[in-house]
């Protein structure tokens, strides 16, 4: 069975149905991209999978790593190895990035019945990953995302992902707002973390990211459903022709 298996998923935001029967399978070791016009339900999909309050799955099922994902609390999903990189990362003043990450990592480990990571090991890891995504230790000591530029926030999401080492990551427009150098850094990070045990779902507007991270499959989301799936060439077609016809 695929690592992530979404079956005929319907979901509401408030009273409005946004996902209308979405079906998608992503296997371990695969990278899939979801593209689609504004308002098609891309971000909603990320939130529903992560368990955000107010984003309610009304029918269908999501199986993740053999578990019923929708039955878990958000933090349990994280501990089970699910990660969502946010399109708009949030600021938490007064809580240092390092403290936030260490608290999160140890909370996940505790839920999995693993011992805390030692302070020294954590610091080593944090230093390495901050460096890999061009953030300084000053960024790591500052309040979470406080005073970060848009690009720095996105790269901080990547640092978090690398440190938490999830089994599966949904990255919601992590590429938007990045200049070309930052885009390459982020893409390089994703490629480094690609492994036969890990899956990715990249939500993106642009072909750009896919020039650097080669997806196994590309899907077009429109009107709350996957309307078309294909190989990397589909992204090129979209870039050329726009969503109009493909999403119709």
């Amino acid at each position: 069975m695929a690592m992530l298996n979404i079956e005929n998923l319907h979901a509401n935001v408030g009273d409005k149905e946004i996902l209308k029967g979405l079906t998608l399978e992503v296997g371990a070791g695969e990278v899939h991209a979801i593209m689609g016009p504004n308002g098609s339900g891309k971000s909603t999909l990320g939130y529903v999978l992560a368990g955000r309050e107010g984003y309610e799955a009304t029918s269908g099922s999501v199986t993740f790593d053999g578990k019923d994902l929708l039955a878990l609390e958000p933090h349990e999903r994280a501990a089970a190895g699910f990660f969502l990189g946010l399109q708009y990362p949030v600021e938490i003043p007064g809580v240092s990035n390092l403290n936030f990450l260490r608290t999160a990592l140890n909370a996940q480990r505790k839920l999995r019945g693993e011992p805390d990571v030692s302070a020294a090991d954590f610091m080593r890891l944090a230093r390495t990953e901050a460096d890999a995504f061009d953030l300084t230790m000053d960024h790591m000591k500052r309040g979470v995302n406080v005073g970060f530029s848009g690009g720095e926030k996105k790269r901080n999401e990547m640092v978090q992902m690398a440190l938490l080492a999830p089994k599966f990551a949904v990255l919601d427009e992590t590429d938007s707002g990045l200049d070309i150098d930052a885009l390459k850094t982020v893409a390089g990070g994703i490629n480094r973390l690609r492994s036969p045990e890990r899956g990715f779902l990249l939500i993106t507007h642009y072909q750009r990211l896919l020039d650097y991270v080669k997806p196994d499959k590309v899907h077009v989301l429109s009107g709350g459903r996957i309307v078309r799936s294909g190989g990397p060439e589909l992204a090129h077609a979209l870039e050329r022709e726009g969503y109009g016809e493909l999403a119709a």
Binding site: G54, P74, L164
Partner: protein
């Protein structure tokens, strides 16, 4: 029957000791109610000199003509002052055979705070725990003795106020009531008449107190009770850091607590006073709970003297408290760092007064109010600059954080400036804990309560980092625990 005679009879009955004005009667308490005899009884029990009794009586007579203040944004049920004990075995708790008999909720809180088991027993009042706890907390009795000796070598006087009245009458006479006059306010006046015990600290000239002074050390040997009186004097060029309170939830049969704390800093002296207050706040419907009506004031009397108040207030049903600084020394410094957290039906009206009289005096006020449940949390602060105080500076920042939609946060700053050279800054914000922040933390692996605790601690960080290290860690946990179940 007069109070004294009743007490006498009781004391005789209870203890089989011969009544006398000595302090060695084991079971001593005055009957309910308050009159001059009660005051005389208290003074006699403590074998106080005549001047102290006169001081108390004067306070009592003044108090009779005073009225309970009603200007705070608090709803205080009427208090029957005749329906209370003013001298009882302080901090009376039912003796438990073991921790199993303790309210499981309190036990759980102890565990969450990470309080060692032997310390839990002392806090809960388990029979026979004290000696064990002394061993556990201090490693051995000799460690406590070592502390005392180390202080003595440095020349620091650290005693109960009762002992100080007997052993250092001149110092006490000189400073008691010098910062908070007997007639200052209703509760301070009451305290002056009936204070049960408290702490006295004198740090001699040029001495840096070799350790953080904590009532905690002393409370294990001696209880203080509801009308606590604290007097701390830092002589020229000295430094002392004093910790008050305890993060563990404190229950007490006395509903009213009216303490008075006076600090005096002479030239170039510095006093750092930290409080963690976690008295029983009452249940979720506001039933029970302590009324904490405290008068705390510091006098920065000497040039370049400095007083820093740090408080973390999470307990009590009602808090009425304004730790203040009278900055009469030239270039003296006053600081106030406060976190006040209210949940359920709690009410807090707290803040500070910075009275600038000395030229070049400076003050900083950082107040963080956190309201949850149906509670009300008010910051009330005064910054006053006298006409002759040149070049005064003040910075005030008041931030309020709301959890839920049924609580209230209020900021009431008073600014009175009579010298045009003053620079006064005031910043205030009110925010709600956001769904975005909560979800973000949860999606990284924190459960809802841990997420709330993390965000709240971030909000309060500027204040918490003022606390001594080991206190800060406990205070962080305390904020989380105090908010449990408040975010649905």
């Amino acid at each position: 029957m007069a109070a004294n005679e009743q007490a006498l009879a009781l004391a005789k009955e209870q203890s089989k000791y011969k009544w006398g004005f000595s302090s060695d009667i084991e079971s001593d308490f005055a009957p309910k109610g308050l009159d001059e005899d009660t005051v005389r009884f208290i003074s006699a029990k403590k074998a106080e000199p005549e001047w102290m009794l006169e001081w108390r009586l004067k306070a009592f007579r003044l108090w009779q003509g005073m009225e309970s203040p009603d200007w705070a944004k608090l709803s205080i049920p009427p208090i029957d002052y005749q329906d209370a004990y003013y001298y009882a075995a302080p901090r009376k708790k039912p003796t438990l055979k073991s921790l199993d008999e303790l309210d499981p909720e309190i036990l759980l809180t102890y565990q969450k705070l990470g309080i060692p088991i032997e310390e839990q027993k002392v806090l809960a009042g388990v029979e026979g725990a004290r000696k064990v706890a002394v061993d556990a907390v201090f490693d051995s009795v000799s460690v406590a003795t070592t502390f005392r000796e180390e202080l003595k070598r440095a020349g620091v006087i650290f005693l109960s106020i009762s002992e100080a009245i007997r052993e250092y009458p001149d110092l006490v006479k000189k400073y008691l009531g010098a910062v908070v006059p007997v007639r200052d306010n209703f509760f301070a006046c009451l305290n002056s008449a009936v204070f049960s015990d408290g702490t006295f600290v004198y740090v001699p000239e040029g001495v840096r107190c070799p350790m953080e002074l904590s009532t905690y050390f002393r409370i294990n040997a001696e209880n203080t009770g509801q009308f606590e009186r604290t007097l701390i004097i830092a002589d020229k060029g000295s430094y002392v850091s004093y910790l008050e309170g305890c993060t563990a939830p404190q229950r007490d049969e006395n509903q009213l607590h009216a303490a008075v704390v006076e600090l005096i800093a002479l030239e170039d002296a510095e006093i750092k006073y930290s409080t963690v207050q976690n008295w029983y706040p009452g249940d979720e419907n506001g039933k029970g709970g302590i009324y904490n009506f405290v008068t705390k004031r510091a006098h920065c009397r000497g040039d370049r003297s400095k007083v820093s108040w740090t408080q973390v207030e999470t307990g009590s049903a009602i808090t009425w408290k304004y730790p203040s600084c009278v900055l009469s020394g030239k270039d003296s410094v006053g600081e106030f760092y406060s976190v006040a957290l209210t949940n359920n039906m709690q009410q807090a009206d707290t803040g500070t007064k910075m009275i600038h009289l000395g030229a070049g005096s400076r003050s900083t006020i950082i107040s963080k109010g956190i309201s949850a449940g149906r509670s009300n949390n008010t910051y009330r602060g005064l910054v006053r600059v006298g006409p002759t105080a040149e070049g005064v500076r003040n910075f005030t920042q008041c931030d309020s954080l709301l959890l839920g939609s049924e609580c209230g946060a209020h900021t009431v700053p008073y600014i009175e400036v009579k010298n045009p050279s003053a620079q006064i800054e005031h910043e205030a914000t009110t925010s709600k804990i956001s769904d975005d922040q909560l979800f973000y933390a949860q999606s990284r692996g924190l459960d809802r309560e841990a997420a709330v605790a993390l965000i709240v601690n971030g909000f309060a960080k500027e204040v918490l980092q003022q606390l001594p290290m080991e206190f800060a860690v406990e205070a962080q946990k305390l904020l989380g625990i105090s908010l449990e179940g408040s975010v649905g």
